[in-house]
Symmetry: C2
Subunit: 581 residues, 2 copies
């Protein structure tokens, strides 16, 4: 080694691309970065050529595991070059992944989709987190779990998502029993890529806990439960998974010769146990202790918070001991429509005038809307929204809820609506914060990370004003990759120039921006009154007081069914023939 400096590499596997970052272990400086866009991207219409005659159903979303390996070969060496460092000084590598993103492999980890015998079966490929075609299986799991009184249901707010591990696994069994049978392993992509890096199969406790119903105390649901779903599913854990679970902060193994060849890093350096993009962001946002909520804000918001104890909190996505920071319980909550909702509005609800102003100023439509919306005071829009365009994740856990907007007059314009949508998502965050506090998990302040809060100062101020709490921003614009690099430094250990634990790593490697968004007292007082309206309507429409959202959805589904069986009524309307004057 040429000097005393030590570096680690973090690789963040996102939905469309993987990002490798080279970080200085001493202070967290991000010295080099490289992004690899997956060649096959999100596979949601048909399989990649030459099998592109195989058409996927609605709600399917697959990926190609070869893209994940290619990302190691392309992005890591380029990030090292970009950093201008000697790769010999890299002491560890860590990865994080979307989740639950899972795939079937042989017992040695070869993806089934790489075999000619299986490649034309969509179930042989990686099921991406947003593969939603396992909803029937999720419904069945929820129903059976409720019937059997499964105790683990409480940890997940009483209901699990179609995005999770066992609905996806059960869908493979039901729709492609041959693939299920042929699969030696069913594994999270996070753990699979670590397997490719180390040659050793491990399973991390974060995805196991949050997505696969595992806990340190109780392990997985028992065999009778899986047998109740399907006799062939009874031994899914024993035959296709593992009951050995590795804790975050540990090393999964050393970098294999093969992976060293891919990455240009030294063989044998520490490879961290795999992690999840949202959860790994928490220490990268400098938070390793209870009392601070970290909001990872993008198309949706993922909220993570730590606690010494694990009281039951209604409507959480999950609570997992050691699931984010070892030694503490990690809670996860979520809001399903945030940046997504603003994007929906910009795409579908903003008239040409705003697009022209944006063009003229070389700005985005979002920026023009933000400009106009910032000129409004709290409550001046006259509007209130329920932000459930994608349903409600926390705390109602109900995908069948929908959006609402009230208060429109002839003077209502796009800026008013835009502001009301931002406010609604802030009220949704406050509902979650209040649920935590009511359950005994204190939230004293908030740290945000992600592209959305970096771009939109108005949003940050509104969130501070609505929640009555100080909001700060993580310094890094790539907290997942930084977090992975931090866990790599912990996996390497203090002796190798890394850290003994993630708290020590965070103290040196994670930072906040100087910007502090303090709640404005006058605005907070107004928002308290608007929030009372939001909370009342939240309960009215969200807890069954008024069934309109469920009824509209049911009627819509009936109408869509009918659409396939006859012409729309208007086509049969009378033809207008004016009477001659």
């Amino acid at each position: 080694m040429t000097d005393g400096r030590r570096y680690t590499v973090g690789v963040d596997y996102g939905t469309a691309s993987a990002r490798a970052v080279v970080v200085d272990v001493a202070d967290g400086r991000e010295l080099g970065v490289a992004v690899y866009e997956y060649a096959n991207g999100v596979i949601d219409a048909r399989l990649p050529a030459p099998d592109d005659d195989v058409v996927l159903g609605p709600d399917w979303a697959l990926q190609d595991p070869a893209d994940y390996v290619e990302a190691l070969r392309r992005a890591v060496p380029r990030a090292v070059v970009d950093a201008g460092i000697d790769p010999a000084q890299v002491i560890g590598i860590g990865i994080d992944f979307t989740s639950c993103t899972m795939l079937p492999t042989t017992a040695d980890g070869t993806p089934l989709c790489e075999f000619d015998a299986f490649r034309r079966d969509p179930h042989a490929w990686v099921k991406l987190w947003k593969h939603h075609a396992a909803q029937p299986e999720a419904d069945e799991i929820n129903r059976v779990a409720a019937e059997l009184g499964e105790s683990w249901l409480d940890r997940y707010g009483g209901k699990i998502s179609s995005e999770w591990f066992f609905p996806k696994a059960l869908q493979i069994l039901r729709e492609a029993p041959g693939i299920y049978h042929a699969a030696g392993r069913l594994i999270e992509a996070a753990d699979w890529i670590v397997w490719q890096l180390t040659g050793v199969e491990t399973r991390n406790n974060c995805t196991a806990g949050y997505k696969a119903l595992w806990s340190a105390e109780d392990g997985f649901p028992d065999r009778q439960f899986f047998a109740a779903l399907d006799p062939r599913f009874e031994r899914v854990v024993d035959d296709k998974m593992s009951r050995t679970i590795s804790r975050l902060g540990g090393a999964a193994g050393g970098l294999s010769e093969q992976a060293a060849g891919w990455t240009g890093l030294r063989p044998g350096i520490a490879v961290a146990v795999a992690n999840v993009d949202a959860h790994v962001s928490m220490p990268a946002a400098s938070v390793t202790r209870p009392g601070t909520l970290v909001a990872i804000m993008g198309t949706s918001i993922c909220h993570v918070v730590l606690s010494e104890t694990a009281p039951a909190i209604a409507g959480m996505c999950g609570v997992v001991r050691d699931g984010i920071v070892p030694g503490l319980f990690g809670y996860e909550a979520g809001q399903a429509s945030v940046g997504d909702l603003f994007g929906w509005f910009v795409e579908r609800g903003v008239p040409p005038e705003y697009h022209e102003r944006a063009r003229a100023r070389g700005a985005s439509v979002h920026e023009i809307l933000e400009l106009d919306a910032a000129a409004l005071r709290p409550a001046e829009s006259g509007l209130l929204a329920l932000d459930w365009w994608n349903g409600n994740r926390s705390i109602l856990v109900d995908a069948d809820l929908s959006g609402m907007l009230v208060g429109m007059t002839m003077t209502t314009g796009p800026a008013e609506i835009y502001r009301a949508l931002i406010e609604a998502t802030a009220f949704g965050t406050r509902i979650i914060i209040e649920a935590f506090e009511a359950g005994g998990v204190a939230i004293d302040q908030v740290v945000a990370c992600g592209g959305l809060p970096e771009r939109n100062r108005l949003l940050m101020q509104i969130y501070a004003d609505v929640t009555g709490r100080t909001w700060r921003l993580a310094a890094s614009s790539q907290t997942p990759a930084l977090g992975s690099a931090m866990f790599a430094a912990v996996a390497a250990g203090a002796e190798a120039g890394g850290y003994a634990d993630i708290a020590a790593a965070a103290e040196r490697m994670a930072h906040l921006r100087d910007a502090v968004f303090e709640p404005d007292l006058a605005s907070h007082a107004v928002y308290d009154r608007l929030y009372a309206e939001y909370a009342r309507l939240h309960d009215l429409f969200g807890r069954g007081g008024d069934p309109v959202m469920k009824t509209l959805k049911a009627l819509r589904l009936e109408a869509l069914d009918a659409t396939h069986s006859g012409p729309a009524p208007v086509e049969r309307a009378a033809v207008e023939t004016p009477v001659a004057g």
Copy 2:
């Protein structure tokens, strides 16, 4: 006379222009038309030059009475030329007007704004129907009437509008007592223009009944009531108005020599008692008997229906004996936001893509939206709206209510919203129809008139499907002017070649189009279920069950007050300074 043919002229005084139509008395054929745009239009910012340094307050809307006379001089002769008839064969002229549109004049009918002494006072001008600056006076009248238990309040749904006669008169007294004092008469513009035509002051029972609290049984409110508002207002009826009220269908007098000179018509021909644009449309839509609702559809909807009796119906605009067709009670109800609402959406809520498609096809954005919305089945949008962008006129009579939209998802687009808005206005119409029927006034079918239903077939079919009733369209595209010409034929009388009454005139002169919009049974069944949702939310938000609309409005007004006393909070937000890496 050159042949046996007889003609009448109808002049429809609208908001921006007056339209003269020459009609064949035998069959209602519209032979000639001419439109005169008022030179001074709607005066809502400053008085016309040379007094354009006089600035008007918010909610003011004035007109220049000289424009009304000019319309006679310009439009009537041109309509006669356009018809290619001999003016000697015109046996009568009738007019209809927006209402309540009123002005102060001297005792001989000279508008005060024509005197140099008064012309710079805005109160000397015509107050147009949509002058809304007398809201404090309307509020006061409503409060005092409720306190005194005035029996006439029941005829107007319990509340009167700021658009009506006495709020406007009281505003003149309060804000310009000199004008009030100088005014020999306060008079509806409808009656004033008939005065100009005949030289005789008359007051029609339609505007007196619907806008000035008069009834055949009880006359005007008594002097004590006016005195309770203001001692100076006690004798407003005796000093400024008249207790002699002329019935629709009669002749106000013969055409004066002066007016014959303006119009080119023969002096002495019958001039009909003045009428109101909405009400005069009813016989022009061929309806002179109970059982059929006439919907005059434009920016708003005015609903008129006839009845042998006058049961109290909650939330009507008014019920007047002989107020529309002599011998029957005429009910008026209204929806405040219809075409206005669709226009709001097209202007403020439709993305560039639709504007581009419209341009490419040479169509309007409305037409493109209608095309897409027509491809949706009932309930397929997944949306439900409350159509109260302008508040609710009937049956809630509450201007402080506002719009609501529920059911949005990420797949919701402009066509879905457009259809939901149309459906919401149809549900609003159904609420009114059901209120009539619950009160004992039968509605068996509906005839629509106005530009909106002529242009939008989807709208007509949805209204038929939602209400479960047959909807037809008046043949004439200018029902107010046709109706005025019909009343002119009645004023002329059968002996002069006209008709004995309006029913006889309607039988010959009014027609329906062949197009019949029958309710589709399957769609009606779906709409029954959606309507149940609408009706429940209508009562929930409209009758005080949930106060969100009132609270939002109150908070908005507080915010607007605060806007004038300090910078918006966001301007004080921290400046973001990223930490160096």
